[in-house]
Symmetry: C2
Subunit: 132 residues, 2 copies
DNA sequence: CCGGATCCCAAACGATACTG
DNA sequence: CAGTATCGTTTGGGATCCGG
């Protein structure tokens, strides 16, 4: 990435450049977000347009309410999505993607596409590996 | 992705098309791999060239031997990386990326780049959020 | 409808020690 | 050098109930 082959970044302009390979670099936080299993799917959905809470819940199979609300809160904190509540009764809440989130989403949907396109090769490799 | 707005894929050719939003679709396996915290970093390193075990260990700060060998084994099973042992003494093992792994790596390094480029915006958003 | 609070289990992860 | 084995801790995440 920044400085292949080294463990700490050089300093090209101002302060230490971020380097995901460095243990305590905050960029690791971003990669950790992708570990949050649902972030990828939420980003993909919201990049198509705003969604209400239960709407998202239905569209993303298998997610528990707790995980969804937790994940949405984290993503809001990270500035990836926005949240707007309408004082209807019962209350309506709408989540939307931010410009920042959209740039990440564009990268992330490519991973999803890759998964859909190459899953068969992966499954074949697994079968072959397990045959030994 | 495949069929936005629905929960199950249509069947264009042969069998059900993969759909990451579908709960039990195997494409979820791929996304789960990215949850393996070290996969991204290993892919990035190996896409630069082959590495020996301890070489990788040194280049990826903070990884435990156990996690590294576990993760490498999974990735080999998935067909993302190759493993070659040389009967030297002591034994030498070299890991390299496969053509399949390389296509995924190209997507994944973009995420890493995004992290390095946008981390400040994320940190700022967090600070702003926490101020409330 | 949109969540928060609580409980609980399984999996991930890390540290250490040991082996071919 | 390149792992495996074991143990203990931490975290993710699902189920359920409750409240605004």
């Amino acid at each position: 990435m920044s400085t292949p082959g080294t463990t700490e970044g050089t300093v090209p302009s101002g302060h230490a450049s971020p380097n995901v390979f460095c243990e305590h670099c905050p960029t690791r936080l971003v990669l950790d977000r992708l570990s949050d299993k649902w972030v990828v799917l939420i980003l993909a959905r919201l990049s198509e347009g705003p969604r209400r809470f239960n709407q998202l819940r239905r569209e993303i199979e298998g997610v528990a309410q707790k995980m969804l609300s937790q994940t949405l809160k984290k993503m809001e904190r990270d500035g990836l999505i926005g949240r707007q509540a309408f004082a209807t009764v019962p209350v309506t809440v709408e989540y939307s993607i931010t410009p920042l989130g959209l740039t990440l989403a564009s990268k992330v949907v490519e991973i999803a596409h890759w998964a859909e396109e190459n899953i068969e090769q992966v499954l074949a490799a697994q079968a072959s590996y397990d045959a030994n």
